[in-house]
């Protein structure tokens, strides 16, 4: 009886600690995403002021912070009702806060392949609902681009998935299957091409 009680209390407290840790990570991610949104809005406001003062230039547009964790773009997917601030980097802390821009890849709207990744249990939890022909909108460095999804496919986690492109390309990645107990073995890759930009 004593052993049973001891085991019960141990499981109760360990389970509680595990849940607290998990909830804390989710809460921290949500808080950091909100912080990133505020920073992004401030940067947008500064950009508008710069335009108003006729001080905006190509250099000013290119001065996007590339520090890990800094907001670099805004991602909107109307079909999913998704509106997230994209952060620089794809490490655990960054992906806990929001979609991450893969360092070394192009920024959305620039020439080249722009890669954005996120966790399947949070920001890209409904990415599989996106279909070929759906629209994606990105904003980065005062450049707004509209994309159309041209392909979706699932590949092995260790398979080559990202390639350089001459023209502007947007690649969204997350783990697959979306509903999976444990570390998902595959990746869902969506590719989009620009239809218009401003």
């Amino acid at each position: 009886m004593l052993v049973r009680g001891g085991v019960g209390y141990a499981l109760f407290w360990i389970g509680g600690a595990t849940l607290t840790f998990t909830g804390g990570r989710y809460a921290t991610g949500a808080w950091r995403q909100q912080e990133a949104r505020l920073q992004w809005q401030e940067a947008e406001a500064r950009s508008v002021v710069a335009f108003a003062r006729h001080a905006a230039s190509a250099d000013a547009r290119a001065s996007v912070p590339t520090v890990t964790g800094a907001p670099v773009a805004r991602l909107l997917i109307p079909r999913l009702g998704l509106d997230e601030i994209v952060l620089e980097g794809v490490d655990d802390d960054v992906l806990n806060a929001g979609p991450g821009h893969l360092p070394g890849s192009a920024l959305p709207g620039e020439q080249g392949n722009a890669v954005i990744s996120a966790h399947r249990d949070r920001h890209f939890s409904r990415l599989s609902d996106l279909r070929v022909g759906d629209t994606v909108v990105t904003e980065s460095a005062a450049r707004r681009a509209r994309w159309v999804v041209i392909s979706t496919h699932v590949i092995d986690a260790d398979a080559p998935a990202l390639f350089r492109t001459r023209e502007a390309t947007l690649t969204l990645t997350t783990c697959w299957p979306i509903r999976y107990f444990g570390s998902a073995p595959n990746r869902l890759i969506l590719t989009a091409k620009p239809v218009a930009s401003s």
């Binding site: 109760f12 389970g15 794809v90 890669v115 444990g182 990746r187 890759i189």
Partner: protein
């Protein structure tokens, strides 16, 4: 006298009948000493059988049997290195790199935490009741 003659005649007839059944014993030929070629063939076959049981890297084995030069350790070791190196570049973009590691253990931890909490609460509750 008659008895002796009768016995001699009987022996003459029986001897013919028995002689028809008994043939001369012919000794089997002595086994010849195996030729060197036969010995070499048998030895090669035995070694091939042993190799078939132990070879694991069939591609390298077939290439070597065909006379194609292959580097050593072309197998699981190189594959593992390739996988590790591709995982290592997943945090930065490069042509042909793998997708970033977006796998998260938080959902699993949440489920495990809920289960442990529920089982622990159940054990404590039933203990206090009994």
């Amino acid at each position: 006298m008659v008895r002796t003659l009768f016995l001699s005649a009987a022996l003459m007839f029986v001897a013919n009948a028995v002689g028809a059944q008994i043939t001369t014993y012919i000794a089997p030929p002595k086994p010849l000493a195996p030729s060197p070629l036969a010995v070499a063939t048998a030895d090669s076959a035995r070694r091939d059988s042993v190799a078939q049981a132990t070879v694991t890297n069939m591609k390298a084995w077939v290439d070597s049997a065909a006379g194609v030069s292959v580097p050593e350790h072309v197998g699981a070791v190189d594959t593992a290195l390739t996988k590790d190196s591709s995982r290592a570049v997943a945090t930065t973009f490069s042509n042909g790199s793998v997708a970033p590691a977006t796998a998260s253990n938080l959902p699993t931890l949440a489920v495990v935490g809920v289960l442990m909490l529920a089982i622990g609460a159940g054990l404590v509750t039933t203990r206090s009741r009994s």
